[in-house]
Amino acid sequence: MGRIQLKQVKKSFGDVTVIPPLDLEINDGEFVVFVGPSGCGKSTLLRLIAGLEDMTDGKIEIDGQDATSLPPAKRKLAMVFQSYALYPHMTVRKNIAFPMRMAGMDQAEQDKRIASAAKALNLTDYLDRRPGQLSGGQRQRVAIGRAIVREPEAFLFDEPLSNLDAALRVGMRMEISELHKKLATTMVYVTHDQVEAMTMADKIVVLQAGVIEQVGSPLELYRAPRNKFVAGFIGSPKMNLIEGAEATKHNAQTIGIRPEHVEVSTTDGLWQGTVGVAEHLGSDTFIHVHGVPGCDPMTVRVGGEIPVTHGDTVFLTPNLQHLHRFDAEGLRLA
């Protein structure tokens, strides 16, 4: 079982508080993604769970047992690092075997687990190579293999895909998701990429400056962001935030409308503007419109192709059902 509870966990480096006291519950079998801009403390939080950093204050429980002062090896967690952290002088086989060797597992069991991990991760042909002879994606899989064979209570991933190129990242994203479905083990995943968060997570934890802004399923966060920060962070392209007279009309300090919830017309609509850049992707067209009061430029998404180019006049109408309203503190208004 991999149930992790953080209670009033706090971390400071000297006088600088990176993580003010926070509470968080990660249920067994959940895929939890910590997401936030760089420097928001998400990696530090993961390292606190792993036991690689000492907590300044608070308590961590794993499966209901206090793990606050347990050394990393005793927490039954496996971690995959951003740099993969493979042992360069060992072959793939020895890399994967290392945690089992350290645990003093017998050779037959080791071989069995290596074989099944290698098969699951398509590494069977590479077992006798060194990490230096592998591609980025293969190294990533070796790092995952090294984590799997320990049969941990939970996997911790620290931005595992950020060193891969875009095409490989999509593939690995899928592989990790499938692995999660297959193993049904708790996974905690840190990323700054909201697309990874949206596609993989059961539960997203949005962090900013060490503070949890919102916890929820991807669609909850998309439909009802708790504040302006989450609204701007989740969703791609970003939500348009409009201030001033337009917002006051809706009794709010700020209103937000996602690019996909705006109707575009060349003849009539609520707001008028001129096209700055139109990105034609074929399946979608993203248009950056200038001249909308309170929001410049406003990004809108049109399904399929629409024949507009730079300098054209367009009319925009927001779909009021999907309008988000925020107060002066940036918090969501019901």
């Binding site: 792993a50 036991g51 690689l52 050394p71 990393p72 090896a73 967690l77 496996a78 971690m79 690092f81 951003q82 740099s83 952290a85 493979l86 042992y87 360069p88 002088h89 290392f98 945690p99 350290m102 645990a103 060194r130 230096g132 090294r146 320990r150």
Partner: protein, 288 residues
Amino acid sequence: MATQHSRSAARLMMAPAVFLLLVWMLVPLSMTLWFSFRKYLPLRGGDLGWAGFDNYVRFVTSSAFWPSVMTTLIIVGGVLIITVVFGVLLAMLLDQPMWGQGVVRILVIAPFFVMPTVSALVWKNMFMDPTNGLFAHLWKFFGAEPVSWLSQASLESIIMIVSWQWLPFATLILLTAIQSLDSSQLEAAEIDGAKPVSRFYHIILPHLGRAITIVVLIQTIFLLSIFAEIFVTTGGAFGTKTLTYLIFQRVLESQNIGLGSAGGVYAIILANIVALFLMRIVGKNLDT
């Protein structure tokens, strides 16, 4: 990128340097070879003509030859072991964050700046002197009989002096190597359940392999020809006569340049044999 033209221009411009280096190496080497086949006694008639392999035979059959080779190898081996082992330990110690790190690092490197002659004199007179040395006082403080280091434990003393000089070099190279170790590897090993000792053997030591190789190769080159430390302390007595020192004695004390040159050629051969062995043992660390 390089065209035919730029390549030949590059060769032309490198030529003076290559030529200078070649002359620098070849002239002394050929002079040594030439003299080794001559009977050349500067104070007893000068160059007395062709000697064939006489000098070579006489040098090897001298009762001092094999002991001097052994002494050389013991000193080189002893210093290598001490500097590498303590170098690794010191490097790990200095890698720990601590107060006054910069000053401590400079202090550790300091012995390397002391000239061999000076350091040997300091050790001989201030530490190892059987009546006035610090060690003698220390021994007497504990009620023990002072050791006359340079005569009773002459070889060990010289190994100690030379190790003291070379330890900073080894430490410095190994420290930079340790600093280049990706800390996430150690963290991964920690999560994988490796205890500190296993982390040292499985992660740190293999990472240092290449740096240790370089330390061993460079030190061997210099240690095969140590001279000042022996000249200043024991003068070659008490079993501290190395091959280099034997050659010096043949040339300057016996005034026999031909015999000394033959010894020089043997020294070259010994150095090559040692280098060959080292390359076999540790050279594979330099690949990959």
